[in-house]
Amino acid sequence: MSPEKLDGLDPIIHSRIRLAVLSILVSVDEASFNYLKQTIGTTDGNLSVSLSKLEEAGYISIKKTFKGKKPLTTCNISEKGRQAFSEYVKTLEAYIGFKK
């Protein structure tokens, strides 16, 4: 996505990976780091950075636990994140509707 004029779009969500993360998390109870990585098709590093930004903004919460002896990172969307995502989609839809 080219970073042209943002037109009121939330800059935190306005990135492919962060948008993908929120799109997935609005549809599930919780998702693991591995699931997000496989579903989005990104690298560990890029996903980690994106998750940290979303967590800093209070859009998602990250839980680190253990599954047996392996570390397990799971994410879920917060109410603030759900609202921000909904606003983001509404802005996009309004933009398309306005153009038409």
Binding site: L6, V26, S27, V28, A31, Q38, I96
Partner: protein, 200 residues
Amino acid sequence: MSEVNANDEIRFIREMIERTKEITAGSWMFFLVWGIVAILGVVGMYVLVYLEMFSLIWLNWIVFVAVGIVYTFVYAAKMERRKEVKSYAHKITTHLSISCGIAFILVGFVFPALSLYTWGLIAVFISLITKILVFVMGGIYNWNLLKWCGVIWWAGALGMVFLHENYRSLLFVPLILIGYIMPALVLRSMYKKQSEKNVT
């Protein structure tokens, strides 16, 4: 932002949401196991009828269904431990499967035991419940093959009504093969492709 970009973003969001609705990879095992259990149950029942051991027919079904239930619980617990995501679609199908499972037991064992209807109607009711299970699952996962399998079960239930009650359960065999085992095999092949993709 251009209109093309806005449309592209909406399409991208939809695509990501759709991916969370992909049918759980290991689900094929449940379809396959219950399909085999039902076919073995029908075959066992007709063998007992042929041997004129009518009193053992209930036991035949209880044994096969119990094996299916035990296997389902063990396999579901194993899948739960491995699961990477808890999707709403999976949550709905789990509740739907439990509801239909309980309905199968009530319709197949409890109600006939209470003499609410004759054993000849069991196959018809079981087919109707299977139709609901398969068709709704097809709707949740947006999988047309399952929806059509649901329609086949519905047609089968209707067809059974016109058969003599002694032969109704026989119609189960083609119904299970087409409406249950066939989607299980398709799912299995999808699962294998998905696993290969994840490895590469």
